[in-house]
Protein backbone atom coordinates (compact mmCIF):
# COMPACT_ATOMS: atom_id res chain seq x y z
CA UNK A 1 0.00 0.00 0.00
CA UNK A 2 2.71 2.45 0.99
CA UNK A 3 4.59 1.52 -2.19
CA UNK A 4 1.49 2.31 -4.23
CA UNK A 5 1.17 5.69 -2.51
CA UNK A 6 4.87 6.37 -3.04
CA UNK A 7 4.49 5.72 -6.78
CA UNK A 8 1.63 8.23 -6.96
CA UNK A 9 3.09 11.07 -4.93
CA UNK A 10 5.53 12.09 -2.21
CA UNK A 11 4.59 13.70 1.13
CA UNK A 12 6.62 16.85 0.44
CA UNK A 13 4.72 17.49 -2.79
CA UNK A 14 1.35 17.13 -1.06
CA UNK A 15 2.41 19.52 1.72
CA UNK A 16 3.60 22.03 -0.90
CA UNK A 17 0.30 21.77 -2.81
CA UNK A 18 -1.70 22.23 0.41
CA UNK A 19 0.41 25.30 1.29
CA UNK A 20 -0.21 26.75 -2.19
CA UNK A 21 -3.93 26.03 -1.86
CA UNK A 22 -4.10 27.79 1.51
CA UNK A 23 -2.17 30.82 0.20
CA UNK A 24 -4.53 31.05 -2.79
CA UNK A 25 -7.64 30.70 -0.63
CA UNK A 26 -6.48 33.55 1.61
CA UNK A 27 -6.05 35.72 -1.51
CA UNK A 28 -9.56 34.77 -2.68
CA UNK A 29 -11.34 35.72 0.56
CA UNK A 30 -9.15 38.51 1.98
CA UNK A 31 -10.26 41.20 -0.50
CA UNK A 32 -13.93 40.68 0.28
CA UNK A 33 -13.38 40.62 4.05
CA UNK A 34 -10.92 43.53 3.98
CA UNK A 35 -13.57 45.65 2.26
CA UNK A 36 -15.65 45.30 5.43
CA UNK A 37 -12.84 47.28 7.11
CA UNK A 38 -10.75 49.42 4.72
CA UNK A 39 -11.27 51.25 1.43
CA UNK A 40 -9.04 50.55 -1.57
CA UNK A 41 -7.13 53.69 -2.58
CA UNK A 42 -6.62 54.49 -6.28
CA UNK A 43 -2.90 53.94 -5.70
CA UNK A 44 -3.44 50.40 -4.42
CA UNK A 45 -5.88 49.78 -7.27
CA UNK A 46 -3.25 50.82 -9.85
CA UNK A 47 -0.58 48.67 -8.19
CA UNK A 48 -2.81 45.58 -8.28
CA UNK A 49 -3.89 46.31 -11.88
CA UNK A 50 -0.23 46.27 -12.98
CA UNK A 51 0.41 42.95 -11.24
CA UNK A 52 -0.55 40.30 -13.87
CA UNK A 53 1.65 41.82 -16.60
CA UNK A 54 4.48 42.41 -14.12
CA UNK A 55 4.44 38.77 -13.02
CA UNK A 56 4.59 37.61 -16.62
CA UNK A 57 7.48 39.93 -17.51
CA UNK A 58 9.39 39.02 -14.34
CA UNK A 59 8.98 35.30 -15.02
CA UNK A 60 9.60 35.23 -18.74
CA UNK A 61 12.48 37.66 -19.31
CA UNK A 62 15.08 35.92 -17.05
CA UNK A 63 13.85 32.57 -18.39
CA UNK A 64 14.46 33.60 -21.99
CA UNK A 65 17.96 34.76 -21.09
CA UNK A 66 18.60 31.34 -19.53
CA UNK A 67 17.00 29.25 -22.28
CA UNK A 68 18.74 30.98 -25.17
CA UNK A 69 18.15 32.33 -28.67
CA UNK A 70 15.68 29.65 -29.83
CA UNK A 71 13.42 30.45 -26.89
CA UNK A 72 13.59 34.18 -27.63
CA UNK A 73 12.67 33.67 -31.29
CA UNK A 74 9.83 31.31 -30.33
CA UNK A 75 8.42 33.84 -27.86
CA UNK A 76 8.57 36.65 -30.41
CA UNK A 77 6.79 34.41 -32.94
CA UNK A 78 4.07 33.53 -30.40
CA UNK A 79 3.57 37.22 -29.57
CA UNK A 80 3.29 38.03 -33.27
CA UNK A 81 0.81 35.20 -33.79
CA UNK A 82 -1.25 36.46 -30.84
CA UNK A 83 -1.29 39.97 -32.32
CA UNK A 84 -2.52 38.68 -35.70
CA UNK A 85 -5.16 36.31 -34.32
CA UNK A 86 -6.17 36.65 -30.69
CA UNK A 87 -6.12 32.93 -30.10
CA UNK A 88 -4.01 31.23 -27.43
CA UNK A 89 -4.03 27.86 -29.21
CA UNK A 90 -2.76 29.40 -32.44
CA UNK A 91 -0.04 31.35 -30.59
CA UNK A 92 1.09 28.27 -28.67
CA UNK A 93 1.27 26.11 -31.82
CA UNK A 94 3.22 28.79 -33.73
CA UNK A 95 5.60 29.34 -30.80
CA UNK A 96 6.29 25.63 -30.27
CA UNK A 97 6.73 24.99 -34.01
CA UNK A 98 9.24 27.81 -34.30
CA UNK A 99 11.07 26.57 -31.17
CA UNK A 100 11.32 23.00 -32.47
CA UNK A 101 12.55 24.25 -35.87
CA UNK A 102 15.06 26.67 -34.32
CA UNK A 103 16.47 23.94 -32.07
CA UNK A 104 16.64 21.46 -34.94
CA UNK A 105 18.71 24.07 -36.81
CA UNK A 106 21.03 24.14 -33.82
CA UNK A 107 20.22 27.63 -32.53
Amino acid sequence: MSELVASLTTPGVVVAILAMALATYLCRVSGYFAMNLIPFTPRLRRALAALPGSIIAATVLPLVERLGLAAGIALAAALGAMLIRRNEIFALVVGLTVAVAARAWGL
Partner: protein, 241 residues
Protein backbone atom coordinates in the same frame (compact mmCIF):
# COMPACT_ATOMS: atom_id res chain seq x y z
CA UNK B 1 -31.61 52.75 -0.70
CA UNK B 2 -32.59 51.05 -3.94
CA UNK B 3 -34.98 48.13 -3.97
CA UNK B 4 -32.41 45.49 -4.90
CA UNK B 5 -29.42 46.55 -2.81
CA UNK B 6 -29.77 44.09 0.06
CA UNK B 7 -31.87 41.28 -1.40
CA UNK B 8 -29.77 38.10 -1.48
CA UNK B 9 -30.55 36.16 -4.67
CA UNK B 10 -29.22 32.69 -5.43
CA UNK B 11 -31.12 30.48 -7.88
CA UNK B 12 -30.53 27.40 -10.00
CA UNK B 13 -31.41 29.48 -13.07
CA UNK B 14 -28.56 31.82 -12.08
CA UNK B 15 -26.11 28.93 -11.86
CA UNK B 16 -27.15 27.77 -15.35
CA UNK B 17 -26.81 31.33 -16.65
CA UNK B 18 -23.28 31.35 -15.18
CA UNK B 19 -22.47 28.17 -17.14
CA UNK B 20 -23.66 29.80 -20.36
CA UNK B 21 -21.94 33.12 -19.75
CA UNK B 22 -18.54 31.51 -19.16
CA UNK B 23 -18.68 29.34 -22.32
CA UNK B 24 -16.56 31.72 -24.45
CA UNK B 25 -13.74 31.41 -21.90
CA UNK B 26 -13.68 27.60 -21.96
CA UNK B 27 -11.44 26.98 -25.02
CA UNK B 28 -8.75 29.15 -23.44
CA UNK B 29 -9.15 27.31 -20.11
CA UNK B 30 -8.87 23.92 -21.84
CA UNK B 31 -5.62 24.94 -23.55
CA UNK B 32 -4.18 26.50 -20.39
CA UNK B 33 -5.07 23.40 -18.33
CA UNK B 34 -3.51 21.06 -20.90
CA UNK B 35 -0.43 23.29 -21.07
CA UNK B 36 -0.14 23.15 -17.29
CA UNK B 37 -0.49 19.35 -17.34
CA UNK B 38 2.27 19.04 -19.93
CA UNK B 39 4.56 21.46 -18.09
CA UNK B 40 3.92 19.63 -14.79
CA UNK B 41 4.87 16.34 -16.37
CA UNK B 42 8.05 17.92 -17.79
CA UNK B 43 8.91 19.04 -14.22
CA UNK B 44 8.43 15.49 -12.88
CA UNK B 45 5.07 15.82 -11.12
CA UNK B 46 2.95 12.66 -11.21
CA UNK B 47 -0.50 12.69 -12.80
CA UNK B 48 -2.10 12.60 -9.34
CA UNK B 49 0.00 15.54 -8.14
CA UNK B 50 -0.81 17.62 -11.21
CA UNK B 51 -4.56 16.90 -10.89
CA UNK B 52 -4.47 17.53 -7.13
CA UNK B 53 -2.78 20.89 -7.63
CA UNK B 54 -5.36 21.88 -10.26
CA UNK B 55 -8.23 20.82 -7.97
CA UNK B 56 -6.98 22.50 -4.77
CA UNK B 57 -5.06 25.54 -6.03
CA UNK B 58 -7.21 26.23 -9.14
CA UNK B 59 -5.21 29.28 -10.23
CA UNK B 60 -3.39 28.67 -13.51
CA UNK B 61 -0.88 31.46 -13.51
CA UNK B 62 0.35 30.65 -9.99
CA UNK B 63 0.50 26.93 -10.80
CA UNK B 64 2.71 27.66 -13.81
CA UNK B 65 4.96 30.00 -11.83
CA UNK B 66 5.22 27.42 -9.02
CA UNK B 67 6.43 24.84 -11.54
CA UNK B 68 9.19 27.22 -12.55
CA UNK B 69 10.27 27.44 -8.89
CA UNK B 70 9.68 23.70 -8.23
CA UNK B 71 12.64 21.96 -6.50
CA UNK B 72 14.62 19.99 -9.08
CA UNK B 73 14.11 16.25 -9.43
CA UNK B 74 15.35 14.49 -6.32
CA UNK B 75 15.93 17.69 -4.34
CA UNK B 76 14.68 17.16 -0.78
CA UNK B 77 11.60 19.09 0.28
CA UNK B 78 12.36 21.54 3.07
CA UNK B 79 9.98 23.75 5.04
CA UNK B 80 11.79 26.71 3.51
CA UNK B 81 10.99 25.43 0.01
CA UNK B 82 7.32 24.94 0.96
CA UNK B 83 7.10 28.42 2.54
CA UNK B 84 8.82 29.94 -0.51
CA UNK B 85 6.24 28.36 -2.84
CA UNK B 86 3.37 29.53 -0.62
CA UNK B 87 4.64 33.13 -0.62
CA UNK B 88 5.28 33.06 -4.37
CA UNK B 89 1.75 31.71 -4.91
CA UNK B 90 0.28 34.46 -2.72
CA UNK B 91 2.18 37.15 -4.66
CA UNK B 92 1.04 35.81 -8.03
CA UNK B 93 -2.57 35.50 -6.82
CA UNK B 94 -2.70 38.80 -4.97
CA UNK B 95 -4.74 40.21 -7.89
CA UNK B 96 -7.58 38.09 -6.44
CA UNK B 97 -7.56 40.42 -3.43
CA UNK B 98 -8.67 43.26 -5.70
CA UNK B 99 -11.11 41.05 -7.58
CA UNK B 100 -12.70 39.87 -4.34
CA UNK B 101 -12.84 43.41 -3.02
CA UNK B 102 -14.52 44.66 -6.20
CA UNK B 103 -17.34 42.13 -5.71
CA UNK B 104 -18.04 43.32 -2.16
CA UNK B 105 -21.11 45.49 -2.93
CA UNK B 106 -22.78 42.46 -4.54
CA UNK B 107 -21.65 39.72 -2.16
CA UNK B 108 -22.35 41.60 1.06
CA UNK B 109 -26.06 40.83 0.64
CA UNK B 110 -25.15 37.23 1.46
CA UNK B 111 -23.76 35.79 4.69
CA UNK B 112 -20.06 35.66 5.44
CA UNK B 113 -20.21 31.86 5.65
CA UNK B 114 -21.64 31.47 2.14
CA UNK B 115 -19.10 33.96 0.79
CA UNK B 116 -16.18 32.19 2.48
CA UNK B 117 -17.36 29.03 0.71
CA UNK B 118 -18.25 30.34 -2.75
CA UNK B 119 -15.06 32.43 -2.97
CA UNK B 120 -13.14 29.11 -3.22
CA UNK B 121 -14.25 29.27 -6.88
CA UNK B 122 -13.09 32.85 -7.50
CA UNK B 123 -10.84 33.01 -10.55
CA UNK B 124 -10.13 35.45 -13.39
CA UNK B 125 -12.83 34.25 -15.78
CA UNK B 126 -15.78 33.94 -13.37
CA UNK B 127 -14.81 37.24 -11.80
CA UNK B 128 -14.95 38.84 -15.25
CA UNK B 129 -18.31 37.21 -16.02
CA UNK B 130 -19.64 38.20 -12.60
CA UNK B 131 -18.36 41.76 -12.80
CA UNK B 132 -20.02 42.27 -16.21
CA UNK B 133 -23.26 40.65 -15.05
CA UNK B 134 -23.39 42.82 -11.93
CA UNK B 135 -22.55 45.97 -13.92
CA UNK B 136 -25.54 45.15 -16.17
CA UNK B 137 -27.77 45.10 -13.10
CA UNK B 138 -27.71 41.34 -12.36
CA UNK B 139 -27.80 40.29 -8.70
CA UNK B 140 -28.07 36.48 -8.74
CA UNK B 141 -25.03 35.01 -6.94
CA UNK B 142 -25.66 31.77 -8.84
CA UNK B 143 -24.01 33.33 -11.92
CA UNK B 144 -20.69 33.70 -10.12
CA UNK B 145 -20.94 30.20 -8.62
CA UNK B 146 -22.09 28.52 -11.85
CA UNK B 147 -19.32 30.11 -13.91
CA UNK B 148 -16.74 29.17 -11.25
CA UNK B 149 -17.95 25.56 -11.06
CA UNK B 150 -17.77 25.12 -14.84
CA UNK B 151 -14.23 26.52 -14.88
CA UNK B 152 -13.14 24.35 -11.94
CA UNK B 153 -14.37 21.10 -13.55
CA UNK B 154 -12.81 21.95 -16.93
CA UNK B 155 -9.55 22.98 -15.28
CA UNK B 156 -9.14 19.61 -13.51
CA UNK B 157 -10.46 17.57 -16.45
CA UNK B 158 -8.03 19.00 -19.01
CA UNK B 159 -4.98 18.93 -16.76
CA UNK B 160 -5.12 15.13 -17.17
CA UNK B 161 -4.73 14.74 -20.99
CA UNK B 162 -2.06 17.47 -20.91
CA UNK B 163 -0.05 15.48 -18.39
CA UNK B 164 -0.57 12.17 -20.26
CA UNK B 165 0.65 13.67 -23.56
CA UNK B 166 3.55 15.39 -21.82
CA UNK B 167 4.57 12.14 -20.11
CA UNK B 168 4.69 10.32 -23.49
CA UNK B 169 7.44 12.61 -24.68
CA UNK B 170 10.77 11.24 -23.51
CA UNK B 171 12.81 14.32 -24.42
CA UNK B 172 10.64 17.37 -23.53
CA UNK B 173 13.26 19.78 -24.84
CA UNK B 174 13.22 18.39 -28.36
CA UNK B 175 9.51 19.16 -28.68
CA UNK B 176 9.97 22.45 -26.85
CA UNK B 177 7.68 21.38 -23.99
CA UNK B 178 9.99 23.29 -21.63
CA UNK B 179 8.84 26.40 -23.49
CA UNK B 180 5.08 25.83 -23.09
CA UNK B 181 4.96 27.98 -19.96
CA UNK B 182 6.99 30.99 -21.21
CA UNK B 183 5.25 30.98 -24.62
CA UNK B 184 1.81 30.81 -23.06
CA UNK B 185 2.70 33.57 -20.62
CA UNK B 186 4.10 35.85 -23.30
CA UNK B 187 0.93 35.37 -25.38
CA UNK B 188 -1.17 36.45 -22.38
CA UNK B 189 0.48 39.87 -22.49
CA UNK B 190 -1.46 40.71 -25.67
CA UNK B 191 -4.98 40.66 -24.16
CA UNK B 192 -3.59 42.40 -21.04
CA UNK B 193 -2.26 45.28 -23.18
CA UNK B 194 -3.74 48.64 -22.15
CA UNK B 195 -1.35 50.96 -23.97
CA UNK B 196 2.30 51.88 -23.56
CA UNK B 197 1.78 53.78 -20.34
CA UNK B 198 0.26 50.80 -18.56
CA UNK B 199 3.16 48.66 -19.82
CA UNK B 200 5.84 50.75 -18.06
CA UNK B 201 5.53 48.70 -14.82
CA UNK B 202 5.91 45.50 -16.88
CA UNK B 203 9.20 46.72 -18.35
CA UNK B 204 10.46 47.67 -14.89
CA UNK B 205 9.34 44.27 -13.56
CA UNK B 206 11.17 42.41 -16.33
CA UNK B 207 14.39 44.39 -15.97
CA UNK B 208 14.46 44.15 -12.16
CA UNK B 209 13.83 40.39 -12.41
CA UNK B 210 16.64 40.05 -14.95
CA UNK B 211 19.13 41.84 -12.69
CA UNK B 212 17.99 40.06 -9.51
CA UNK B 213 18.24 36.65 -11.23
CA UNK B 214 21.99 37.27 -11.51
CA UNK B 215 22.38 38.50 -7.93
CA UNK B 216 20.21 36.21 -5.82
CA UNK B 217 19.72 32.43 -5.86
CA UNK B 218 16.45 30.57 -6.47
CA UNK B 219 13.36 32.27 -7.82
CA UNK B 220 13.45 35.41 -5.71
CA UNK B 221 13.61 37.30 -9.01
CA UNK B 222 9.94 36.60 -9.84
CA UNK B 223 8.79 38.20 -6.61
CA UNK B 224 11.32 41.03 -6.82
CA UNK B 225 10.18 41.86 -10.37
CA UNK B 226 6.46 41.61 -9.56
CA UNK B 227 6.82 43.87 -6.51
CA UNK B 228 8.94 46.35 -8.51
CA UNK B 229 6.15 46.47 -11.13
CA UNK B 230 3.50 47.13 -8.47
CA UNK B 231 5.57 49.86 -6.80
CA UNK B 232 6.18 51.50 -10.19
CA UNK B 233 2.45 51.51 -10.93
CA UNK B 234 1.66 52.94 -7.48
CA UNK B 235 4.23 55.73 -7.86
CA UNK B 236 3.23 56.73 -11.40
CA UNK B 237 1.04 59.87 -11.44
CA UNK B 238 -2.63 59.48 -12.27
CA UNK B 239 -3.30 59.53 -16.01
CA UNK B 240 -3.94 63.05 -17.23
CA UNK B 241 -2.75 64.54 -13.94
Amino acid sequence: MTFDSNQPILTRAGILLGFRMVMPALPGVVVFAAAFGAAASAKGLTLLEAALMSALVFAGMSQMVALEAWPHGGAAWTWAAVAGLAVLTAVVNSRMVLQGASLHPWLSAHGNGLNALQLCLLTDANWLVGARYHADGGRDLGVLIGAGLALWVMWILFTIPGHLVGALVSDPKRFALDLVMPIFFAALLVPLWRGRRAAVPWVVAGLVALVVSHLLPGHVFIMAGAIAGMVTAALMPEEGA
